[in-house]
Symmetry: none
DNA sequence: TAGATCATGTTGTTATAACAACCGATCGGC
DNA sequence: GCCGATCGGTTGTTATAACAACATGATCTA
């Protein structure tokens, strides 16, 4: 990422590298003037770097006081969630996977963003079709940093869950995950893999799983047959307007 | 918001006001130089305004070409029960409703199940198209028990929110809701209402809202344009040893 | 002593300026 | 006619500069 990246990106990355090392949640960052001196750039540049960190929820700024490392307590979502494939497993449906491909590639932008990897980083991609009672229900792309990916790649991906492998065998406890869900339709590849007609409904889920320290370790794009999955949840009514936080 | 708000916020708001009116998805925005002339501000100010629109997914910029209106798309966090207008307000976007139909019908089985009604019960059905920044985003069926439905039917459904009507005017505080979300595709009716091609992706949500005592009072079937909405959530790792994924 | 005021340090807003990177079309040479 | 170079238009990056708004603690005043 060295010298040809924008200065603000270099400053930004340099600050990120300190998080959890010399900078901890609640700590105050160096002031803008200090960063100007330290990096030898202009104020507009350090401000852009800090603003990007704010946008990434890593830093909060308080006018008149300074900028502070955010507390990563951002895990609200008091919602208990049921459903999903747990349902399938709970129904006792045997779930197997057909591994289509395991390879090492340069991380695409969305993968880099999810796993917080620098430009040019490589990842292991695992492409599988998941089956329930013998019929395909989802087409999954799993992306792992290569250090983990090389380990997992040697395991029995047809019969073991990646989550289980990570947790039990590779010392990577998973603490939480973020989900992004969309409705989509099947292109030719998906249709073929899932044995549905092209244009059929697809429930698309991007899931990023985190290990301790909120470090992302597993990014998956799951394409479920639209008729094979329902996502259910229960949410409380937003509290009285007039105060939030 | 008048004169004491930052200039970039005023420019930003002024641009948002044009979305769906004189600016439609795919259109090119005025260039930065044109905006400078038009608003009489500096480049740093118009750039900040445009960047904020980019951050809100309302605009995309292409270096060397210009800035363009994005097709409306929203990321909705699944943290609390909120109505469409509340969601759009949270994004700072103008929203409207087009009421297609208000009628009393015999409750179909799924409605009876959701609202806990006996066989033969009647309900009020309200059919609406929801628009954000001037473009259809969702096609909604709302089912209310007739006692509530008759009250709500006399209100101004184009401009008032059903949740607000229920809570403020008709003494029915909402406490929580259950969601069931699926991927589907657009039939002819949906395609026409949402101005998409038949077969396009649809994010379908069944939502049952409850009032005190967990009494169901409002059952909705929401059909979002699949390309217009992404739902996100964040979940702690389920601690169920033995099965996951 | 309690309260108001001020000084200082901090982030927030805005202007001016210049150059870089990129896109698309036009123009030129072969 | 085809292909490369050039040029005008656009967004991206960065520097310098000044003032505003806010927080905090010190100082001044009643």
């Amino acid at each position: 990422m060295g010298t040809n990246a924008p200065l603000y990106a270099q400053v930004e990355q340099s600050l990120v590298a300190r998080l959890g090392v010399s900078l901890h949640p609640g700590d105050r960052l160096p002031t803008e003037d200090e960063l100007i001196d330290e990096f030898g750039v202009s104020r507009i540049t350090v401000r852009r770097a800090v603003q990007n960190l704010v946008a990434r929820n890593l830093v909060v700024t308080r006018r008149g006081q300074g900028s502070f490392v955010a507390v990563p307590s951002f895990t609200q979502s008091l919602t208990a969630l049921t459903g999903f494939v747990e349902d399938m497993d709970a129904h006792g449906l045997p779930s197997r996977a057909r591994v289509l491909r395991v390879e090492e590639i340069a991380a695409p932008p969305d993968v880099r963003a999810a796993l917080d990897l620098p430009l040019g980083a490589r990842v292991t991609r695992i492409q599988r079709v998941r089956l329930a009672v013998g019929h395909p229900v989802s087409f999954d792309d799993t992306y792992l940093p290569t250090d983990l990916g090389r380990l997992v790649a040697q395991d029995d991906l047809e019969n073991e869950q990646i989550f289980t492998l990570l947790e039990s065998r590779h010392g990577t406890p998973l603490t939480e995950a973020s989900y992004a869900m969309r409705a989509s339709t099947a292109d030719a590849v998906l249709a073929d893999a899932l044995e549905v007609a092209e244009g059929s409904a697809i429930f698309r889920i991007e899931r990023t799983s985190y290990t301790s320290g909120l470090r992302p370790v597993d990014y998956e794009v799951l394409h479920y047959r639209g008729d094979a999955i329902t996502f259910t949840t229960r949410l409380p009514r937003a509290r009285t307007p007039g105060q939030e936080q």
